[in-house]
């Protein structure tokens, strides 16, 4: 965590769709060079939270502030980039045309705009496909284009809403590499996902969000320490699995062997899935 003033401050944020409480008392800060992950199932309130943070939705209570001011102000929005869920692309425009359009809308002109568009396309590895229309691109390429459109004007604050949904493993790795590069350049990134391994790999801090409430927010090791529980020693024998919870798996393995236990043994260390389960009382895929 650095000591610079936060790029984003969310304080006691609440929002409702009619009678449905979508967010309640959400509070966090996002700093430069930090990737803050929001982990939760579909319908947990992640996208609503992003909409409130970007000024798209007006909070019912609480406050959202960017370093430059209120995100409801269009001028403040110039300092942020958004890669919405599902891409939100113009199928009839080429990759270059879309990136140039958004560069132009963010105030870039002439050569500066062209250079920024080229750089953004190269950053996501789409320079070869620059003149292809979006409708002809694969799912992974479309998500990369989505990211290029969000970063073309080099905003300090980025909102990436489930950018890897429907993306193959190769494209996913390319995207995650790109996001890590952005973090190294000092961008602050709010990243929503329901994929645990992504959150573990990318995020400096992870927030567990469920039914509109931010249940926990901390670094991955701290979350594991607090909610992960003990590692599991798993014994596979005669088609069955016997689980032994243990703070010291090596000692437990020794004891099992001494007792003459048969079969294959493996050790499972707790991950974010266990954290999520303990925090919410249900698995993340339940509502997905």
């Amino acid at each position: 965590m650095n000591n610079e003033s936060p790029l984003l401050q969310v304080d006691q944020l609440s929002f409702s769709y009619g009678d449905l409480r979508a967010l309640e008392g959400v509070r966090f800060e996002l700093h430069p060079g930090e990737v803050l992950g929001l982990l939760g199932p579909n319908g947990a309130g992640k996208t609503t939270l992003v909409h409130c943070c970007t000024g798209r939705l007006k909070p019912a209570a609480g406050q959202v502030r960017h370093r430059q001011g209120d995100p409801a102000n269009p001028a403040v929005r110039r300092s942020m980039g958004v890669a919405p869920q599902g891409g939100a692309l113009y199928d009839g425009l080429s990759a270059r045309e879309q990136v140039e359009l958004f560069a132009g809308l963010q105030g870039l002109r002439g050569r500066e705009k062209d250079a920024a568009a080229r750089e953004a396309l190269a950053f996501v590895g789409l320079q070869e496909k620059a003149d292809k229309r979006a409708e002809t691109l694969s799912g992974g390429m479309r998500q990369r284009l989505n990211l290029a459109m969000a970063v073309v004007h080099k905003p300090p604050l980025l909102f990436l809403d489930e950018p890897t949904v429907g993306v193959d493993a190769q494209s996913r790795n390319a995207l995650l590499d790109g996001i890590e590069a952005l973090r190294r350049k000092g961008h602050g990134i709010l990243y929503t996902t329901h994929y645990m391994p992504e959150a573990e790999r990318l995020c400096d801090r992870v927030g567990i969000i469920d039914r509109g409430r931010l249940l926990e927010l901390d670094s991955v090791p701290a979350l594991l320490e607090a909610h992960g529980g003990d590692p599991l020693v798993i014994q596979e024998t005669e088609g069955r699995e016997i689980r032994h919870s243990s703070a010291d798996p090596l000692l437990t393995l020794d004891e099992l062997r001494r007792q003459g236990a048969q079969g294959r043994f493996r050790v499972e260390y707790p991950g974010l899935e266990q954290v999520f389960l303990r925090c919410t009382g249900h698995e993340i895929q339940e509502e997905a």
């Binding site: 942020m80 919405p84 599902g86 891409g87 113009y90 009839g92 425009l93 045309e97």
Partner: protein, 433 residues
């Protein structure tokens, strides 16, 4: 301002790549206007003339003169043939009628007011009953023109008079019967009149004023001095002047539907939200959409009229008024487009409801059946449809010779209803957002 222009360019680019939209807003209206224009024009002015085969068996001076008069008439298309060939041509439907001038036609024609009148035989295709009546009237009229020649003086008139008087005696054994004596005296008096005109050097073709001053000939029942008068046309200059305003209506409907659907699609896919998040102001989004839609509508209007002018020779009575009418129509349908986009949350829903309503407006307003063919009650009902005012304003500039003041009510209705539709669309879309 830059954002508005960028977004409008984006819309135009997307539109140009959408073949379905291009078809509905440009090619379909063009086909519609051209097709119905051609149908109602009857395929050109040449085809409207009655085709007549002449069989001149007399070959006299009078019959040749009659044939020449027929050939000169623009409502007839004359060819000549023998009797059998003429009958075959009509029987096979290649010509509409045949006319035989038998031997003796000219001689009979020269006998003024006595003896048998000149006779001719007419055969008409039975499937052309309407043309048959018109043809008989035309032949009577052209034949009657021969009498003008007799009473116009000059050498030809005197020859006819002399021949007539000779026949009058020959037919009666050298003596004029008492009951025809007055006719003979009339011919003599007329001949003396023409003779004295010639002695004074006044030919029949001489200046009518001189003739009047001399006290002889050149009689006219009334002397009319022709004055230049601008007459208001009561009908369209061509069938394309009726079909192209209708085509424009369909083009405007196509544009409104295409832009409306693309707006719904943007809303559904999230691109509209993405633009908002890219610091584009709400008013800029609205202005860019209005600019793009109006620009395309106006462009399509001008393209279609340009096509009608170049290909079908349409001549608007006022280009400035035509431009103003196109502008007002485009504005009105831009408002309709915004309302259209609020009809449903999905493209399918909006397409179904929107096209239904727009087709109803087109049907009521003269987009399907021209206003001039509608019964009175339907014309009154059409007042509620903006399509009617589009058609009226365009026709006013094309062939109704509207003065700016006469055009004003239609323009006000179009601009006013455009504002109403605009506000309705804005209200509905904000409410749904």
């Amino acid at each position: 301002m830059k954002a508005i222009w960028l977004l409008a360019c984006k819309d135009w680019r997307l539109l140009l790549r959408d073949r379905g939209a291009l078809f509905s807003m440009l090619f379909f209206p063009l086909l519609y206007a051209s097709f119905f224009g051609l149908i109602f024009s009857g395929g050109g002015s040449g085809d409207r003339a009655i085709s007549l085969v002449l069989v001149d068996e007399d070959s006299s001076k009078a019959s040749r003169a009659f044939v020449a008069d027929l050939q000169a008439h623009k409502s007839l298309r004359i060819s000549e043939a023998g009797l059998e060939e003429a009958r075959d041509l009509v029987r096979l439907g290649k010509r509409q009628a045949w006319l035989r001038l038998p031997p003796g036609y000219g001689e009979a024609g020269d006998r003024l007011f006595f003896g048998d009148p000149p006779r001719a035989e007419l055969g008409v295709d039975p499937s052309r009953k309407a043309e048959a009546g018109m043809l008989e009237g035309l032949l009577q009229m052209i034949a009657a023109q021969r009498f003008n020649q007799v009473f116009s003086g000059g050498e030809d008139s005197r020859q006819i008079l002399a021949k007539t008087r000779d026949w009058l005696r020959e037919d009666n054994g050298g003596q004029v019967p008492s009951f025809l004596r007055h006719l003979d005296q009339f011919y003599g008096t007329l001949d003396s009149l023409y003779e004295s005109q010639e002695e004074q050097g006044l030919s029949a073709e001489a200046d009518s004023l001189q003739a009047t001053e001399s006290g002889f000939g050149g009689f006219q029942p009334i002397v009319l001095e022709r004055q230049e008068v601008v007459v208001r046309r009561q009908g369209p200059t061509s069938s394309f002047a009726v079909s192209f305003p209708q085509g424009i209506v369909w083009a405007l409907i196509g544009c409104a539907a295409s832009f409306g659907l693309s707006l719904i699609s943007e809303r559904r896919k999230g691109t509209l939200d993405r633009l908002r998040l890219a610091a584009v102001r709400e008013r800029d989004l609205l202005a860019s959409r209005t600019l793009a839609c109006m620009g395309v509508m106006l462009g399509v209007c001008l393209l279609l009229f340009g096509f009608a002018v170049l290909v079908f020779g349409l001549r608007p009575s006022s280009w400035p008024l035509l431009f103003t009418a196109s502008l007002a129509s485009s504005w009105c349908f831009t408002g309709i487009m915004l309302s259209f986009s609020a009809f449903g949350k999905s493209e399918q829903a909006a397409s179904g409801i929107g096209w239904g309503l727009l087709s109803l407006l087109a049907m009521l307003g003269g987009g399907m059946i021209p206003l001039i063919f509608m019964p009175g009650w339907m014309r009154s009902l059409s007042m509620i449809s903006p399509v009617r005012w589009v058609v009226v304003s365009l026709e006013g500039a094309l062939w109704r010779n509207f003065a700016p003041g006469e055009m004003l009510p239609a323009l006000l209705v179009l601009f006013g209803s455009g504002i109403l539709f605009f506000l309705l669309g804005l209200y509905t879309s904000r409410r749904s957002a």
